[in-house]
């Protein structure tokens, strides 16, 4: 197990370095000049050249990358070109809102998804089941930005129950979390339904029913906990999709997280920030996958340690 973990951790580190390289290459190809961005519209050629030199933009590609990597290995993500601040500081200030949003999004998708999945499984092959499954399809097919704008329109603009956008109070969190979770809810609903159906057919559940226990009790005490585990384990894999989601949701709701930070940075070719956010997001995805794999391992020891 320890050897497996060590190997996986090493592999993850290599993946992150690979991602840093791919992103660096792509940003290197961007048809815009960061030195000119910094220098502004009134700069002389000499100023621009100077900035280029100070930032090492005149160095050959490999040297620039190695410099970046060197910093990265020491946990230094560099300085923002435009905001003139440590990328670490910027990300640190933007990460809590994003993490909060993600946590709330996960809570929302699980709460909705699991409820729908359990109901559908228990009422299998009824109108309710069919209706809920259509709902879950709608969930995975709805563009997040449309869901977001619709929720704002109905619940914030029209009914006035929630703030239109922004950050700060629990009320601000509700609509963005629902928007972020809506997509996943559809997916979890379908997974939970099939997981429940598997469990409901297993012997111990039948035994419990045969012993005369009430249906609700059997479902809640026996079936649900067993069906839940494999579904919960998927949350780790879900991180990647959530990461894409927060870019959109933060843009729609004006949420001051890393998605918004990245989007603004791309508009202004603030390369250190784009690099930093990409790596932080990739890190979260890698860790999520790792946790999912380890959980799967505990649940099913037969899985080969490959």
């Amino acid at each position: 197990m320890a050897a497996y973990l060590a190997r996986r951790l090493l592999g993850s580190a290599l993946i992150l370095i690979g991602i840093s390289l791919v992103t660096f290459v792509l940003l290197y190809l961007l048809p815009a000049d960061p030195a000119r961005q910094i220098a502004g519209r009134s700069a002389t050629a000499a100023t621009v050249e100077n900035i280029r030199e100070q930032l090492g933009l005149n160095l050959p590609f490999y040297e620039r990358y190695l410099r970046y990597l060197g910093g990265l290995l020491q946990g230094d993500l560099g300085r923002s070109y435009i905001q003139r601040t440590e990328v670490n500081t910027l990300i640190a200030s933007r990460l809590p809102p994003s993490l909060l949003l993600m946590a709330a999004g996960i809570a929302a998708e699980l709460a909705i998804g699991l409820t729908v999945g359990i109901l559908a499984a228990v009422r299998r092959r009824t109108k309710l089941d069919q209706g809920l499954m259509v709902f879950s399809f709608v969930g995975v097919s709805a563009p997040q930005f449309v869901v977001g704008i619709l929720l704002i329109y109905v619940f914030a603009y029209w009914l006035g129950w929630f703030p239109l956008s922004g950050y700060g109070t629990p009320q601000h969190l509700v609509l963005p979390a629902l928007t972020l979770g809506f997509l996943g809810a559809g997916w979890y609903a379908r997974m939970m339904r099939s997981s429940m159906l598997d469990v409901l057919q297993q012997d111990f559940v039948r035994t419990a029913r045969a012993k005369g226990l009430g249906k609700a009790r059997v479902v809640l005490r026996h079936a649900v906990p067993n069906a839940l585990l494999p579904v919960i384990a998927m949350v780790g894999i879900d991180i990647g999709i959530l990461m894409s989601g927060i870019v959109v949701v933060e843009s729609v709701f004006g949420w001051p997280g890393i998605g918004q930070l990245a989007w603004q940075a791309i508009q202004r070719v603030d390369i250190p920030i784009i690099m930093g956010v990409t790596l932080v997001a990739a890190c979260a995805i890698v860790v999520g996958n790792l946790i999912a794999d380890i959980l799967a391992l505990f649940m099913d020891p037969r899985i080969k340690l490959r």
Binding site: R36, R84, T89, S93, P97, S165, P256
Partner: protein, 544 residues
């Protein structure tokens, strides 16, 4: 000192037609106190006067720091500020500034001539990476100081604690404007050194306000500088800037009285509704700004090397319709300079909208069937929409312009290449003057100096004869020549427009919305230099 203050008050009362709803008590009777809340969507990037160069932090910095020169509130008229007075030598090459005495930095130390010298050297020092370094090119020794970090700026001397002498290598009629730029604002060396590159997050100046709190991504709070040298200023005790607020939310909160100024203005989508709503009538202040939105035509890329083609494009674009598309938040333009700018030629007629004549001109130029080209535009609303309106107008006369809607940085990069962008719609990146002088609208965007790789002269128009005239105009530094100089600039700009490297499309109007808690002369709510409002002069009615 008193004299200037009085002059400032007089300017208030004269500042024009926008003064109708002023219920202002006379200047001296305004009580200090109260607080206001200003919202922005974007985070404040930096408050370092040597670095900050966006319209949001520009006026915030002006309230934290001061320069030798400033403008009368609500106007574009220069007045000494940290300087008490100044003298210009007859050859226009030496400026001697007498400093105001007893001005203190927020850290309590008295400001002296050495601080002025330090600040100017810092801004041209390449290690500072200031986007404003280029403005100081006229100061003697600029080339050496900007080439190597740590080199002293030869032309700036602290004669004694209260006197600064600045020598120029060439006469520069805009020099006093340059001294009013944020980049020339005075910073204390010890604080800059203490915070290093993070000075922008820990600003310490001499200004009317000082920084009290900064929570990244959420809020910035200014509080009154009790030691401020202008008596009675600032009027407010505190300004709270809340960031991350969508303009539309800001507007609703303003309606509810939670916000006093919507920093990003009235969102376009709500503009008509708000403007036509009687309850907002007294809360909106309209004013002009030093802005022109234009289309550049790259004269190095055929067929735009042909004057007739450029003139045809000028006649093809229906500016009134574009103004209608943006709900009348602008006025159509016919020349590069905005009407507010000295040198604007009211009698100039430019090219009137006339598609038939445009088509004829195109035919004369040998493009009876039109041609294919590209129109670059920044990809933030409403710019792509305006570009599509232009595209349709061009299609009327046979020019098929494909739209390239890209991130702003990519458009700027393409414009700075000789052979990349045949046409660019400048919206979102457009020139808003750094200072109210026609010179600032020429060099970088229409002169030969800007027509270099990476430059901002995206039409790559370079007329050496006009360049020579521009240099000559800017060397008319003697105040007695000021009118003649402006007259010359007027001629230069109309001469350029006859050559049609641009299509000047419109001049944006400003519509500031503020809660009825706030008061002050209207001029400070549409101040041409302080956007969105002149923070120092706003006062709270509830503190009266």
């Amino acid at each position: 000192m008193k004299k200037w203050l009085l002059a400032g008050a007089a300017a208030f009362l004269l500042s024009g037609p926008a003064m109708t709803l002023v219920t202002t008590p006379a200047h001296a009777q305004v009580k200090q106190g109260g607080s206001m809340t200003v919202t922005y969507k974007d985070d404040v990037s930096t408050l370092d006067p040597a670095i900050g160069y966006d319209w949001q932090n520009w006026s915030m910095i002006k309230s934290l720091f001061d320069g030798l020169m400033d403008y009368k509130p609500g106007t574009t008229e220069l007045v000494p500020d940290l300087a008490e007075s100044y003298e210009i030598s007859d050859d226009g090459l030496t400026y001697i500034f007498k400093l105001r005495q007893g001005v203190k930095f927020h850290n309590g130390r008295e400001m002296t001539a050495a601080d002025v010298k330090y600040s100017l050297e810092r801004v041209v020092n390449p290690a500072t990476q200031s986007p404003g370094a280029g403005f100081f090119g006229a100061i003697k020794g600029f080339d050496a100081a900007s080439a190597e970090a740590g080199t002293a700026l030869e032309g700036v001397t602290a004669v004694d604690d209260a006197t600064v002498k600045i020598e120029l290598s060439r006469p520069d009629a805009t020099f006093l404007h340059v001294m009013a730029l944020n980049f020339a604002h005075v910073v204390p060396a010890e604080e800059v050194e203490k915070y290093g590159a993070d000075f922008g997050k820990h600003p310490v100046g001499t200004g009317a306000f000082k920084l009290a709190e900064w929570t990244l991504g959420q809020r910035v709070v200014f509080e009154r500088n009790a030691d401020y040298y202008h008596e009675g200023l600032p009027r407010l005790d505190q300004i709270v800037f809340e960031v991350g607020q969508e303009p539309i939310v800001a507007l609703l909160r303003l309606e509810r009285g939670e916000v006093d100024v919507a920093g990003d203005g009235i969102p376009p989508a709500k503009f008509l509704e708000t403007k036509n709503d009687p309850k907002f009538k007294d809360m909106i202040v309209e004013g002009s700004q030093l802005h022109t939105g234009y289309v550049t035509m790259n004269v190095k890329m055929p067929p735009f090397d042909n004057l007739k083609v450029r003139q045809a494009v000028n006649m093809a674009i229906n500016k009134d319709r574009i103004v209608r598309i943006i709900n009348g938040r602008a006025v159509p333009a016919n020349q590069p300079l905005p009407p507010l700018m000295p040198g604007y030629d009211e009698s100039y007629e430019g090219f009137a909208f006339d598609p038939a004549k445009a088509k004829a001109l195109l035919a004369e130029a040998g493009f009876a069937d039109g041609f294919d080209t590209e129109l670059f535009v920044a990809n933030t609303d409403p710019q792509p929409r305006i570009a599509q309106a232009i595209q349709q107008d061009l299609a009327e006369i046979g020019i098929k312009a494909a739209i390239k809607s890209l991130a702003q940085a990519n458009v700027i990069a393409a414009g700075g290449e000789e052979d990349q962008a045949p046409m660019i719609w400048s919206g979102g990146m457009a020139w808003i003057a750094d200072f109210p002088d026609p010179s600032n609208f020429y060099g970088p965007i229409l002169g030969c100096g800007g027509a270099v790789p990476g430059g901002w002269n995206w039409s790559w128009y370079c007329n050496e004869e006009l360049d020579a005239r521009a240099v000559k105009a800017d060397s008319m530094a003697d105040p007695s020549q000021a009118d003649a100089r402006i007259e010359e600039w007027k001629k230069i700009f109309t001469a350029i427009q006859d050559e049609a490297p641009w299509v000047p499309v419109f001049n944006e109007q400003r519509f500031t919305i503020r809660s009825d808690r706030l008061a002050g002369p209207d001029g400070i709510f549409v101040d041409p230099v302080h956007i969105p409002v002149h923070y120092d002069y706003v006062y709270a009615k509830d503190a009266q």
